[in-house]
């Protein structure tokens, strides 16, 4: 007999394949031509536009929207991609509600911004669907650069370096390139294998060799890379997952949310993927939201997201919080986990209530849980890295580390706000600085 949302424990196949397909469909399907024209019409083509200032990659948003409005979405895509080579993914995952769209003058005027993210997707999808790669390599420089990590920062860096005529080798520890785009983002934001397709499209620039299954500290060393290449860029991300440090954390059913999401992203058959009946996610960032929503979409009966401070302190945007609650996730706040109860497998998780400064109120609550997903942050792993600060690699504005010839960017580097779009900007800017250094 097939499982239902009411079946206890971690079970696969709680929903029918049809239900799963619907649940994991595109969150925002691509605008059709008419929708795009109507949306583009709303742009006022502002002077020194606030949206552009808010974009970490400085995309000329008024220009690309005008290009859409005048029937040249391919030109719009080129405007986007010349600043942000992962503009296709950023159009899907950027928290536009806290970036470009938050400052759109039509948000100010009417509470309804121009839907910049969806317009960006319209343009980039159009160009990528045609299979075109709009950039060409400069003449070969004979210089070589090693990029460690094929996530957004590494890919953006590699592409820009290749464009400038350098030969780039990208190493990644995982089996596929893409980093969090491939392994760490909710499935409904990047359907139909988009992350993979975007990497393939990006590599069409030429001059980039990708070597997967190659991890720094496991056969690769920074000293070795420095010796073999003219420059090194580190975009290794945050490979470690923070622990709750609670008794019972090793019980069955207690998982890292990033692993849960990665398994889901790589699953060929969602119906074969197990999920609890009573899922509790701990954390307040995007990973927590993505894990909670997807647990619900897989058919979990009750999904609770617990965060230790108030709603306004959550790293996940209000849009993401609302998305979660609209899918049936219950968000509880000011609740810190204190114990994981069970006998072998987890049965309940106990929280203590506290104020926003984490002072306990003396009250506590136990929530049934047969699956606990931990999403309380990740950390940088590895030895022999350049100088760290606050657990991350210390970098200059252009990504220079304490080690000459070594740059870094993305989540592993200090600064930024752990967004795909900031990682792209850091990778790109580091590439420009590497290029300037190598050709000086």
């Amino acid at each position: 007999m097939s499982k239902t949302p009411y079946s206890e424990g971690i079970q696969a196949g709680r929903l029918s394949p049809a239900e799963l397909a619907e649940n994991f469909g595109d969150l925002h399907p691509r605008l059709d031509d008419h929708e795009a024209l109507v949306a583009a019409d709303r742009c006022y083509f502002c002077h020194d536009a606030p949206c552009m200032t808010a974009c970490p990659t400085d995309i000329d948003i008024p220009l690309f929207i005008r290009q859409i409005a005048t029937g040249t979405p391919e030109a719009a895509a080129k405007t986007i991609l010349s600043q942000n080579i992962l503009g296709g993914m950023c159009a899907r995952v950027c928290p536009t509600e806290t970036l470009c769209e938050e400052v759109c003058v039509r948000e100010v005027a009417e509470g309804k911004p121009v839907i910049i993210g969806q317009l960006q997707r319209y343009a980039t999808d159009r160009l990528m669907a045609a299979g075109d790669h709009p950039f060409e390599r400069a003449a070969p420089t004979g210089k070589t650069v090693a990029v460690v990590g094929a996530g957004p920062a590494g890919l953006a860096c590699a592409h820009r370096l290749a464009m400038h005529g350098h030969d780039v080798t990208v190493y990644d520890a995982r089996a596929k390139a893409g980093g969090l785009n491939e392994y760490g983002i909710a499935a409904y934001k990047a359907v139909d294998g988009f992350a993979r397709a975007e990497v393939d499209w990006l590599l069409k620039i030429g001059g980039i060799t990708v070597e997967t299954g190659r991890k720094l500290g496991d056969g690769l060393t920074l000293d070795g890379l420095k010796a073999d290449f003219d420059a090194v860029f580190l975009g290794v991300g945050l490979g470690g997952v923070n622990a709750l440090r609670l008794e019972g954390e090793d019980r069955d059913g207690v998982l890292d949310a990033v692993d849960f999401i990665a398994d889901l992203r790589q699953a060929d058959d969602l119906a074969a993927l197990g999920v609890g009946r009573d899922v509790v996610v701990i954390g307040g960032g995007m990973t927590a939201i993505d894990a909670a929503v997807q647990a619900k979409l897989l058919g979990a009966l009750n999904v609770t997201l617990a965060y230790r401070r108030g709603r306004d302190r959550m790293n996940a945007s209000r849009f993401e919080q609302d998305l979660a609650t609209s899918k049936g996730v219950r968000i509880i706040t000011n609740a810190s986990p204190v114990a994981i109860h069970g006998n072998g497998a987890v049965r309940e998780i106990e929280f203590a209530y506290s104020d926003d400064d984490l002072n306990p109120t003396g009250q506590s609550v136990r929530i049934p849980a047969d699956q606990v997903l931990k999403a309380i942050g990740q950390s940088l792993q590895g030895d022999g890295l350049p100088e760290l600060e606050g657990g991350k690699i210390k970098v200059s504005d252009t990504g220079r580390t304490s080690v000459a010839g070594v740059w870094a960017g993305g989540d592993c580097a200090l600064g930024g706000d752990d967004l795909t779009v900031t990682a792209v900007a850091e990778g790109r800017d580091a590439a420009e600085d590497i290029h300037a250094t190598l050709t000086a």
């Binding site: 024209l37 109507v38 006022y44 083509f45 502002c46 002077h47 606030p50 005027a109």
Partner: protein, 434 residues
């Protein structure tokens, strides 16, 4: 409640909103629906001679210009006069007029420029019971190539001649419809007046090419790889039409000539503006073709509300009230000083005023680090461009400086006296006279 009933050159209608001679008025079915929807009158689509009717193209007849959200701003057409037999039109007109005796029914007519043709047909048409005639001297395409329409309207002597024939042929009121495809509207208007016209109606459509198909390298609408100029109408032509109406209304020679205003009228306000400039009533086409007959309901309610607010009891109370204020540039008061003012509460900080002023005008708007836009009074010439490009209605306004107040741009106090170019020291003829 304002009284919207209209008496235009003796033709009575429940309101001043007529449908212009055009596709919406081509047949009984449409006209009955128009009257039921609330239109005060119709000018039936232009009738031609008896015999085989004209034929239209069998491809696209219209081209268009769109604004944001595909709002239709301008339409052009290459349709000819009615392509239905004369007798069918006459039967239908008679039936409609019988059933709607209180509504205005005008017959638009276009026949060859021969006395007999005009004198033969008008009495026949008059038997329908129609309230008057409109002589179509305006259509700029097709019929003009056959010596009719604007081919007549562009030659004042022909206008006067045909108008006289018409007046001799019928006791009914005769309206002469003018083409804007001329250099100076006063020539054809004066000719119509001299020919004895009871009124003029204007404007007819403007010669136009709305689009070029860049694949076929051909103007649109495209008929088998070729295009021709059409007649342009709709909101885009309203400013051109209003100027022509005002020119006739303020010209002493034609000032008493009644005008039926036509050209892009879409809302009650458009109608009120034409009438304020001197039109006794208005005719509408493109707005109906874009939105359907129902729009007249907004025109009726809007005009009534505005008249009530202003205390006008009938439309005659405000017709022509703006005419005396239409003047020549040389009479404008050069001592009248205004400055742009930006309401910071309404400003949404798009910066369009800044870009427009900084790049193309007088560098009179300052932009702060945090996007606060302010007017530099010492640079502002009050050109109004910032007002025009601002997306928020009423956010930027023009403040009139009081007499005695300092104009920071010139360093001179504002004069309370009227002073125009004719008396200005920079005017060479003033110097010459001294």
């Amino acid at each position: 409640m304002a009284d919207l009933t209209s008496d235009f050159i003796g033709i009575k209608s429940p309101n001043p909103f007529w449908l212009a001679s055009a596709p919406p008025t081509d047949k009984e079915y449409n006209v009955r629906r128009a009257f039921e929807a609330g239109w005060g009158g119709v000018v039936w689509k232009t009738l031609g001679e008896a015999g085989p009717p004209v034929v239209n193209v069998n491809g696209p007849r219209y081209g268009a210009i769109h604004g944001a959200d595909r709002r239709l701003l301008g339409l052009n057409n290459i349709e000819l006069i009615t392509d239905r037999p004369l007798e069918v039109n006459l039967e239908e007109m008679a039936r409609v007029k019988r059933d709607y005796p209180d509504h205005a029914l005008i017959a638009s007519v276009m026949v060859p420029c021969e006395e007999k043709a005009w004198k033969d047909i008008l009495p026949v048409i008059a038997e329908t019971g129609c309230d008057g005639f409109e002589l179509n001297f305006g259509c700029p395409h097709g019929m003009a190539e056959r010596g009719m329409g604007s081919a007549v309207g562009q030659v004042p002597e022909y206008i006067e001649m045909v108008t006289r024939w018409a007046k001799e042929a019928t006791p009914l009121p005769v309206i002469v419809k003018l083409t804007p495809n001329i250099t100076n509207i006063l020539y054809p208007a004066t000719a119509a007046f001299n020919g004895g016209a009871d009124a003029v109606s204007l404007i007819n459509t403007i010669n136009s090419i709305t689009n070029v198909n860049l694949d076929a390298m051909c103007p649109e609408p495209m008929i088998d790889g070729k295009g021709t100029h059409g007649g342009y109408c709709g909101p885009a032509v309203k400013p051109i039409a209003m100027n022509m109406v005002a020119e006739i209304a303020r010209n002493p020679e034609t000032a008493t000539l009644p005008i039926s205003g036509i050209g892009g009228i879409t809302t009650w306000r458009d109608a009120a503006e034409f009438m304020a400039l001197g039109a006794g009533n208005v005719q509408v086409c493109t707005a109906a073709m874009t939105y359907g007959f129902k729009i007249v309901q907004e025109m009726i309610s809007g005009l009534s509300q505005w008249m009530d607010e202003k205390g006008y009891e009938s439309t005659a109370d405000f017709v022509g009230m703006a005419t005396p204020n239409v003047t020549d540039w040389q009479y404008l008061n050069l001592n009248h000083i205004t400055k742009a003012e930006i309401n910071q509460d309404d400003c949404i900080k798009c910066g369009r005023c800044y870009a427009a002023c900084e790049d193309t005008s007088h560098q009179a708007i300052a932009m702060s680090e945090d996007r606060v836009f302010t007017v530099k009074d010492d640079e502002c010439v009050a050109c109004n461009l910032c007002v025009n490009v601002c997306p928020v209605d009423g956010c930027i306004t023009m403040r009139t400086l009081a007499p005695g107040e300092m104009d920071e741009r010139t360093g001179q106090p504002v004069s309370g006296d009227y002073g125009n170019w004719l008396a200005h020291p920079n005017n060479p003829s003033v110097t010459a006279a001294e």
